[in-house]
Symmetry: C2
Subunit: 435 residues, 2 copies
């Protein structure tokens, strides 16, 4: 090992510049005795002022050329995106035997297995602590701290944009659209928010974490994904009355039938660590029979928090550590086996817009009973109406079920809809108590 | 590296037997391809039935003899205690070049610097993830995940016994003595609870964590320690009214004057991760400018949770990893410099038993003002009294101050006591908002 670890950084956005700032503040990292030296950078616009000293670094217009060039020990990929130049550059760096540090979850979710094999083939480390839950050491905890300890579930709040929107909706009783607009104004959400609010970003992170936790291959396509667009203020109000908060969770559980990976809004009991995680903060819960539950919470995004995760990977490399990308040799990982969802037992919150006619309530209770679904709570929401107005033609009924299978609930709701008992589709949110 | 990592375990209590159980359930740990094999054990009573298979392990009556004997690569010390046979055995094991894994915080708090140097001298790893906050990977997070990232504070709930007692006192409005008796009956507290309830156990863990976080030498004697015996149900009730919970926190902060290490009951805002950590669960908060706040919560004690931390250290050894005991060479750690407490600015909760005479309230307000202390909240607790009874001679006044120095508050309270305004000593609890 030489005294200096030479790094090249592709992508000089907030994470890239914050990484350079952290490195320049303490060049000898983690007591390794080695200096981390920035030797090359690549970004779209050479002329832009970034507030960091790049004078010692060679400039590359093309990140792939930088990945192939000699001189650097480590290629840091902070370009982003599932394919394109980020993928080409990471492949080129690994093929040339360079270590790669990346924050790119979309890339890993899509190509992680192939990149891990390429890394192993070239004896080039591939590290990505920053790709999952930003500044929270989630990868390291499942890969190292819990290596060899059985894990039964990993779940959590892994998207700050969604958590910010849900927190604001709850606090202000405001609509999804209003809070999304706020998030966009504050820079917490992109102009096209699909990737975040429809759950795909959470799904990518979950698939990566789930692979390491359960020692299976990554399969991001196997994640069932539902985002937060359908959440209404009425749901948050009902959640509060019932003692819950609504969070967008990524949930991966190891079952006898295989791995169940889901992303959906979830009712989480107030007072629990996940429920009390507000705003852009992320939280990851890891469960297993030996240790019960371990929860890590912290900044899920932001330049300097994500940069601190990048620096922790660089420090490992400076110390001469080179863990397997996915915790163990990728060829030894089990093929991903997807669990059927229908058998999953859980309690559910159901919001039903019912027609205000005699017998409507009895009709839906009968359909639930026919599928063997017991109801724990029934709340009929009748808004206050002045006496001179006619009664509303639609009322909201909220049900909380005892644990039942999602298949049975789906059948009961289909029957209720066919009966004409409800005037629009019902809204179903799983409850986290029985995860 | 051979295919097998041979280990000897001294101490077969709940942690020792749970460790053996975890190892026997998955002998090839963390994808290292190596088997972890139990080759020797030592405990007080050979004849006791422990529910684990010890047939392949040599028995030693004397753990020091086992530490010196050839055959094992790793000596696992689960005996406990600051000195005595645990210290002698760990010294013997390191001197003979064996790696040591220990859960013994008292030993490390007292002799950690010397043992780290001995380990380095003999190129023998010394790992102790289980010594701080049981199953929570607190050591690894500050040593590895945050290596090279500036840390300004580590704090947390690191003693399950105290947190159980405080949680029960709050829930049931019951006395410290009652809840301690419960904890003893449930096995959460020792017959002599001093070590836990007076804060020494928390102080040991804090001193170890603080050393790694701030890259200074361990100095457990420099911790200011106050336990939870003086907490009364009235304090918990007032805390609830003011929006806080009372937690015993260990708090280490890096200041311009040096390191400030304290253990004391603290008012923590409800809804925060630390406030919502209840029962025997532990939580560690790590703060720094780059990442903000990172909170890890999980099981702080218990056989199998602590065993999972022991196994994580064994897995590191099986993978061929040998981090420096304190994160970097012990000779490179800065000497410990203790910060003066008097300059610490913070807000305080003060419970004052005042004499019910005219002017008492004005007298104490004047003394506070004279020291420049502003009051954020003043609550006078006048218990309801039937009309036929005379008024009480003592009333409780609760003050919440704006941030002030502890020295100024101490002077004001001494003056108030000298005035005869209060009938007994006041009770002061720092507020965590301004940590």
């Amino acid at each position: 090992m030489t005294d200096t670890l030479k790094i090249a950084i592709a992508g000089l956005g907030t994470v890239g510049t914050a990484t350079i700032g952290l490195l320049q503040a303490e060049p000898t990292h983690g007591g390794s005795g080695r200096t981390i030296e920035l030797v090359a950078v690549s970004a779209r616009d050479k002329s832009r002022e970034r507030g960091v000293d790049l004078s010692g670094a060679a400039w590359f217009d093309d990140p792939v050329a930088m990945a192939e060039a000699p001189g650097a020990d480590v290629f840091v990929e902070l370009i982003g995106g599932e394919g394109g130049v980020a993928l080409a550059a990471v492949e080129a760096a690994l093929a040339s035997g360079k270590a790669v540090v990346t924050a790119n979850k979309a890339l890993l979710a899509a190509h992680g297995m192939r990149l891990a094999a390429l890394a192993e083939e070239n004896r080039a480390p591939l590290l990505f602590e920053a790709a999952v839950a930003g500044g929270i050491p989630a990868i390291r905890t499942v890969r190292d701290s819990l290596a060899g300890i059985p894990i039964t579930a990993v779940l959590g709040i892994m998207n700050g944009t969604c958590n910010y929107i849900l927190t604001e909706m709850e606090r202000g009783g405001r609509s999804f659209a209003d809070c999304l607009a706020d998030a966009q104004r504050l820079g917490y959400a992109e102009a096209d928010p699909t990737f975040d609010v429809d759950g795909f970003d959470t799904a990518h992170k979950l698939a990566i974490l789930s692979s390491i936790a359960f020692t299976t291959q990554i399969d991001a396509d196997a994640v069932r994904v539902e985002g937060i667009r359908s959440i209404e203020p009425a749901d948050l109000e009902a959640a509060a009355e019932l003692g819950f908060r609504i969070k967008l969770l990524g949930i991966a559980t190891m079952t006898a039938e295989g791995v169940d990976q889901r992303v959906h809004p979830t009712m989480v009991p107030r007072g629990s660590a996940l429920a009390e995680t507000s705003g852009v903060t992320n939280a990851v819960s890891i469960r297993g029979p030996a240790f019960g539950e371990l929860v890590l919470s912290g900044p899920g995004a932001g330049g300097s928090a994500t940069a601190s995760a990048v620096v922790s990977d660089l420090t490992d490399l400076a110390r001469g550590l080179a863990p397997s990308p996915l915790g163990r040799p990728s060829a030894s990982l089990m093929p991903f086996r997807k669990a059927e969802a229908s058998g999953h037992l859980g309690a559910y919150y159901v919001r039903l817009p019912i027609a205000d006619r005699p017998g409507a309530f009895a009709a839906l209770a009968t359909r639930m009973a026919a599928e063997g679904i017991s109801l724990e709570q029934i709340v009929q929401k009748t808004p206050h109406r002045p006496d001179h107005l006619p009664p509303l033609e639609e009322q909201t009924v909220i049900l909380v079920t005892y644990p039942t299978s999602s298949a049975a609930l789906a059948r009961a709701l289909a029957d209720i809809e066919a009966d004409g008992t409800i005037v629009r589709a019902p809204h179903v949110i799983p409850i986290a108590q029985t995860l």
